[in-house]
Structure formats: C-alpha cells, structure tokens
C-alpha cells in the first residue's frame, strides 16, 4: 500500500497535474489553461466552483483516475482563482505548520487541498511557498533549512532568506517579465532576438554592467550595440539578459551575509544564473538545486500526509 495522489500546480497561464506515488511522479499532464482562462469564463460565483472542479476532474481523468486526493498550489487560491485564501504571514515555518490551506472536495467526495500564498509587510508570493517547503524538506537540501539564501529565478524571481527552519523574508524581482516586455513592447524589439542564444561573452558583458551599476543605464546599450557596432540581434539579446540578471544579483549580494546560496529553477535558466553568479565572484558558496520533478511536487508530497485524516493514509 502506498500514498497515491495528484499534485497540481495551477498558474495564471498554465495547468500542470501529476500522478504521484510514494513521492515519485508516474505520469504528468501540462495544459495551457491557466486559472485566468477559467476565471474569464465564470459568469457568477455559483458557476465558479463547478468550473474549477470540472477542470480538475478532467485533469484527473486524463491521468487515468477519478478519485485521488489532490494537492493544489499556485494562483488557484488568488482573487481570480477557485477560492481566495488569505496569505500566510512570515515567518513561514518550513514544516508547513502555519501555511494557510483549505480542504475542498469534488462532487464525488475527492478531497482537494488548496494552498495559499504568503506575505511580508512589503511582498507577496503564491506558489513559491510550496516550492520552498519542497526544496528544504528534500533529503538532498534539508541541511540548508537552518540558514541560506534561496533564489528562485523566473517571471517573478524570488530572493528568500531562510533562517532557523523558517522563511523570514524575501524580495521579488520582475526580471523574467521585464525581459519579455523589453523584447516585445519597446524599441529593443527591433534589435534583440531570442531565436538563438547569444554567446556567454555577450551575456557576461551584460552581467558585469548590470552588477556594477544596475540595469537601467545599460538598457539603451542593447540598441546602441546594434546601431554602432552592428552586433547581431542574438548578441544584443544575450547582453540584455545578462544586464537584467546581473542587476538582480547586485541586490542579492546585499543580503548575502555569508549564507550559502541555493539556486532552484528550470535547468536552462538556473544555468544562466549560475554563470552570472560565478562571474560576479560575490557568492562564496553556491548550490544548484536539481529537482527534475519540480519543487512544488516535493512540497505537495511533504504536506499531504500531514493533512489527511487518520485512516485516510495510505490510500492505495
């Protein structure tokens, strides 16, 4: 008998659900239907419950099941999600004890554990709290739960300060979204191209500039390189990416305080951050977190047994 459940990470623009057995993903589905698309189809509040529940049932069914417990994190607990849950407050215990969650259920009684985000007085996250719990309760990385900096790069990059088995604070950098906006909605669109990767040299030139003086005095350089030097669009794009990441890292360096730095994210992106971090020379101890099945799933696997009633676990 083993614990079998569905791990679901529902973002603004994507839906990912996995069948997990004994902490290992057995099958997985990714659909481009974020909560935004469900929210936009909701005509009234009665409708909301059934629209979200129906979509989850379709996910379970596509995985080949109808009645597994579901653990659900991400934007599904936001204002535009299934049900809005208040944020947990820092300090956030890494054992999940003060995480905000609610037990809902599908029509057939299948339990759904909806996880909320967390906030400080000046920042918020929704989804990442579960990833942090997944990473710092994983056997390979739990040694860092007593103190580290955890960097989660992405659309909204998070710099989290971990101390004594708690998340005590973080800051959000809109690095990924800024890169997207600059390369699609400004003059830089004409002189950057993401079609192929530029060289590490271009990227690191950007990192140096961003780390030294911040991003903004360098943004127009991504155009000037093209006009004055004839730099190809891939080169300017790598430069711009380095500029933004270098600038982001300059803020992390203020918080470093000799803690080990963990970097966790999709391998390609984590690799770029690693390269940039090495270039700055500012972080003596850096660890790349390698969780191919995703930090959120590990968080769900850690949390679910704590939330099931006696007798509900093991289930299969």
């Amino acid at each position: 008998m083993s614990l079998r459940y569905a791990s679901c990470d529902w973002g603004t623009s994507s839906f990912r659900i996995r069948m997990v057995e004994d902490g290992v993903s057995k099958s997985e589905i990714n659909w481009p239907f974020g909560i935004r698309s469900i929210h936009d189809s909701v005509s009234n509040e009665c409708d909301r419950d059934s629209k979200f529940a129906d979509f989850l049932k379709r996910g379970l069914s596509a995985l080949g099941f109808g009645d597994m417990p579901i653990v659900l994190s991400g934007m599904a607990s936001s204002t535009i999600g299934w049900r809005e849950l208040r944020y947990a407050k820092v300090p956030l215990e890494l054992d999940g004890s003060n995480l905000v969650h609610e037990r809902l259920s599908l029509e057939n009684g299948t339990p759904v554990f909806l996880i909320s985000g967390a906030c400080t007085n000046s920042d918020i996250m929704r989804g990442e709290e579960t990833e942090v719990i997944g990473i710092l309760n994983h056997e390979d990385y739990c040694q860092y739960a007593n103190g580290c900096l955890l960097l989660l790069p992405g659309t909204h990059s998070k710099h989290l300060v971990i101390d004594n088995y708690r998340v005590i604070g973080w800051r959000t950098f809109m690095t990924g979204e800024l890169f997207e906006a600059l390369t699609t909605a400004t003059i830089l669109k004409q002189t950057t191209s993401t079609e192929s990767e530029g060289t590490d040299e271009d990227f690191l030139t950007g990192v140096d500039g961003g780390f030294a003086t911040g991003m903004e005095s360098g943004l127009f350089r991504a155009r000037v390189r093209s006009v004055l030097d004839g730099a190809p669009n891939e080169s300017n794009c790598a430069f711009l990416s380095g500029l933004l990441i270098g600038s982001e890292l300059s803020h992390l360096s203020h918080a470093a305080q000799d803690k080990p730095l963990l970097v966790a994210g999709p391998p390609g992106l984590t690799g770029r951050y690693q390269l940039a971090i090495t270039q700055t020379g500012a972080f003596p101890s850096v660890v790349t977190v390698d969780l191919p099945e995703g930090a959120a799933m590990h968080g769900h696997s850690f949390l679910l047994p704590r939330w099931l009633d006696e007798g509900e676990s093991p289930l299969a």
Copy 2:
C-alpha cells in the same frame, strides 16, 4: 524683409511642422504620421525620395506655403528615414559647425536641410542634438553653454554633459518607454492606471526608493501596494513613475560634479522631474528651461542662416 522658413521635427510616430518668421512660430501642424508610416509604405528606393518629399509638400501646403526652405531634424535621417546620414561625433560644437547635415530639395527647388544625429562610442541620439543647440544658443540659456548638465526627459531621456561650448558626452535612459511597457505589457497593467494623476506623496515615495536603491527592487511593489494595502491604481501608477524617475536621477547624481542642472521638456513632465530633483536634495543648482515653441525650433532658427547660400537670406 525677414527670414521665413519651415521648422520640421519628424519623429518615428509623429510629424510636426511650423512656419517660423524671425525666430517666432506663426502657425503649426501636428500629424500622427511618423517616418515609420512613410517608411512602411515605401516599396523601393526610388519610391522613397518621392514619398518623403510629397509628405513634406503636403505639410507646407497645409501651412499655406509652397516654397519655404525647410529645416528637418529627428528620425528622418535614420535608417528608416528619408535618407540615412552618418552620426556627428562628440565633441559636438554648440555652434553647429561639426553637425552633419545635407541639403536636399523638393521638385520645385525648395531646399530641405536634413540634420543628422550624433554619437559617442557608446550612445546615440537623433533629434536631441538640434534641441541642445537650440537651448544653449537661446539668449535665456546661453550662459550655461560653457558648462552644465542638460536633462531632456522623455521616451528616451538624455543626460548630456556640456563643457566649453561643446556636448562632450551623454547617456540615454529608456525611462518613458519603460514606464509605458510596464503599465501595458506586464502584470502591473492590472494595478496601475494613468487615467488620473496620483498624489505627489505617492510619486515621492517612489522617487525615494528609486533614488536610494534603483528601480528594480521596487517594481513589484507597484503590485504589492495594491494587493496588501488596497492602494488605488492611480496611486500605484504615481509610485511607479516616481520609482523610475528617482532611479534615473541616481545615475545623474554621479555625473553632477557641481555643474548647474538644466531640465528641458514638455511642462508636465519637466514639472515631475523638478519635484523629484528637489526631493533628492542632490542637485544644488537647477534651472527649468521654458521654451514654449520647442527646443528643436530654436535650433533650426539658429542653424538655418549659417547654411543658406549668400543671397538666399533674408528670403521673405
């Protein structure tokens, strides 16, 4: 007899032409037809000359004239303009002696003086070089031509260093364009609104943050203020505007070197920069340049008499 000519400032997305007599604008036309729209309608290079010339003739005709000399600055000398002219190199003499320009003509012989931009090894401008010449040859501001910092706020804000009657360098900040991209193409779109101005207090909170630590650690704050504090969208928008301007000014402060700072631009925008500059307390001597008819027109009025052949001036 007086000098009568047409002053034309042709940008990427707008076309402005004025009838000027003795240095004073007598009538003016603004059309939303930038060089981009002409360029996109050009099917081959033979076509290019006639498309641009025809459009200028329509401008002259709308002003009620057919044969005034035209002085033309802005993007018309760029790769997508009427004719691409090389950039003038720094140091740029404020008497215009090393400015790059070319004399073209319409079919009826009307001369058109097309002005090119300027470059350093690491930055470019096209249009602003004429504005700088206009400002620092104007009787109200020529006293600053021997040394000042000149800030031209806008889509691509310029910080110019003036020394000994020359432009010796500048840096471009994409502040205006960044603000536009952030409020239309990122998550901040949902929590900012430019429909009405926020308070000076919101704006100055942003300025403080941007000036102290740069923009990027504050960008997500424009969202968090809404989610955690219920701040209205106008308030978040003013905060964001302050954040970007404060951050831009932090770079200017490095270059200040006790020179007087001149700020020249559209009155609303210049007012906001003035407010931010006062808040930082970093600039002891600040002058707002007030040229209701525009710096470019003053540049054209200064330059044209130097470029007309003997006997061509005065013309009317």
